[in-house]
């Protein structure tokens, strides 16, 4: 369980996230949705400890999240950053096992874990010795996800994991993600600007606009009882895009 207690973030005078109370239930998938610059990635970066709140504080599993508790929590966290987060000078295999190797886990254990995960993420094992440039966009995303899952994280953070992929690949990955999240029993927090992804994957959806939380709840609530006109407009705009 992750809780925001009036946590907010400013960069100088620019407000990235207004102070907010937020709840990310354990073992559920929460989807943060909004336009770019709405503050959704800021929330992800706050939870991963890449940045720290300027106001309020964050609680993870009942403990205050601080730079002191960061190292311990980071190894229980997996993070898939937007495209291009694989280290280009390492093969897919080297990328995936890097951290496990540093923690000096046995090679047999590492290999077993990796093979098991490749089945789950459907990363073809014959591509393991290829370099990132030799992989397609979808394959890269699957490798990234495999890397994030290597240490069996309790929290999985995904920043636009399906962006910039062609529609067929995207549809396939979406189905695989859904199956995976259901099986894994992990707290997933995913950022997207795409309604379809939010509808398919989100147990809980948070809509943001300009650093402010507009509405949160199950996806169905957004069309049945929108809290303000922006919600309706946001939905209509995306639907029109699909129909046109």
């Amino acid at each position: 369980m992750i809780l925001f207690h009036q946590a907010g973030k400013n960069f100088g005078n620019a407000i990235a996230l207004r102070p907010a109370d937020l709840k990310f239930p354990a073992n559920k998938t929460t989807v943060l949705i909004g336009l770019s610059g709405s503050g959704k990635s800021t929330i992800l970066r706050l939870i991963s400890g890449l940045i720290w709140p300027t106001t309020g504080w964050i609680e993870i599993n009942g403990k205050k999240f601080t730079p002191d508790t960061l190292p311990e929590i980071r190894h229980r966290m997996g993070y898939v950053i937007q495209s291009g987060d694989l280290f280009p000078h390492l093969t897919a295999r080297q990328n995936i096992i890097l951290v496990a190797q540093e923690l000096q886990l046995g090679i047999d254990q590492i290999t077993a874990q990796m093979e098991q995960l490749c089945v789950l993420t459907r990363f073809p094992s014959h591509l393991l010795d290829r370099y990132p440039v030799e992989l397609s966009g979808g394959e890269q995303r699957r490798a990234s996800l495999t890397r994030a899952l290597m240490l069996k994280p309790e929290i999985l953070l995904l920043d636009e994991p399906l962006a910039a992929l062609d529609p067929m690949v995207r549809a396939g990955l979406l189905l695989d993600f859904k199956a995976l999240f259901e099986r894994m029993n992990t707290t997933v927090i995913m950022v997207t600007h795409n309604l379809v992804e939010a509808a398919r994957l989100g147990d809980w959806v948070v809509l943001l606009q300009a650093g402010r939380i507009v509405q949160q709840g199950p996806f169905a609530d957004f069309s049945s009882c929108p809290t303000e006109t922006f919600v309706t407009e946001f939905f209509r705009a995306q639907l029109e895009e699909v129909l046109l």
Partner: protein, 495 residues
Amino acid sequence: MKARLIVVLIGTLLVGRASFGGPSIVLGSKKFTESFVLSELAKQNLEGAGFDVEHRQGMGGTIILWEALQQGSIAAYPEYTGTIREEILKRPMAASIGELRKQLAEYGVGVTEELGFNNTYALVMTRARANQLGIQKISDLAKHPELRLGMTHEFLGRHDGWGPLEKRYGLHMSDVRGLDHTLGYLALLNGEIDVKDAYTTDAKIGQNDLIVLADDLKFFPQYRAVFLFRLDTPYRAIQALRRLEGTLDEARMVHLNEIAERTKDYSAAADWYFEQIGQVGNFNGHESLQHRLIRWTVRHLILVSLSMALAIVIGIPLGIYASKEGLASEIILTLTGLIQTVPSLALLALLVPIPFLGIGPVTAVVALFLYGLLPIVRNTATGLRDISPQIRDAASVLALKPRTRLLKIFLPLASPAILAGIKTSTIITIGSATLAALIGAGGLGEPIISGLNLNDGTTILEGAIPAALMAIAAQGLFSILDRFLIPRGLRLRPT
């Protein structure tokens, strides 16, 4: 880590110094033919007396030689009484050689009796130009302030040089420029300048039928040739040096200079001298071109590799520091940049007076190392700064230890930039290392400087061609190294 670096640095310098050690008597000479010839004569006398002698040719001007003598990196070199008074002791009043000797002894330096000739400064013009303008003496120049003057840098800066001379004669020349001595003669003969400074025993004066302008106000002091030597030099060596006393009059010296310039061979001049005075010089044979080339090239390679090794070992950690935002980074980048703006010759001159450096290979290596730093530091810093934010975030959220992050992620990603920096630096250093010969550190600069002095293109090429080939070879070597050192994933093209 830092301590270890310092130990490595000091170790390299010590080993460097030890491996360059050798002959028991080291002679120096200034950067002009006569000085070369005099030291060559002294060398043969010393060898005849059973000493191992190294002659560091054309080390530079008075200040560099005097420093080298005091520090003990050379045991003796030829000097002129006028220079000792004006430039070294800065007491123009000291009259006799006995008085000079007393004052020099305070520095632990001795002086021989006069070798014989007076080689004073003079101003020279081509006969045609002088006749055309009706100029015979220095005071005649006052009527022609438009004349173009090309003076050696040393003459321009001396107490008995151009500045005081101009004042004494009340001249107001509008076009005075600094020129290398030998190149200056070319410029004079080509009509690019009208007047230049010369030594009265220059072979070029007779060869080219130049007019020596009369010093009608008796401005130039006497420049009688002597040898300066350290008082701790073995007595037998001093005796050997003193055998030159009184054996060289003006005519003989002009002739020796002329032979040296014509044959491009200092030993040939020495042979003629020993024939004249009825002694047999010490024949150690004339070194073959192949042997010389190997000796210069090997020395050049040693200078370049030592300085590059230092520049890499120190430059990469500095570059890593400099890649982080902040004051330290600004200071590192500004300082390394600043070093690069100091002209290489000036940098050498600045380093020579520093204790433990002095004249020789150690100083050359230090100077080349300082020059080589900038491309390596800058490329390392830029290579690291250019790593994308996604990659940085990924390395952070994976909770890699800082050491792993640097060694396994950041440095390999920056390796193409770092290697490019090392390549640039090496190629620049191969070029700059030719200047090492100016401070007696040898290398391919030796034939280049000799060639410049003798105005001999072939000799210049003996150094210039191998240096150019070495630069091309370095370029090729680095292309091969790239394949081994840059990770494969960074060399692949997207499919």
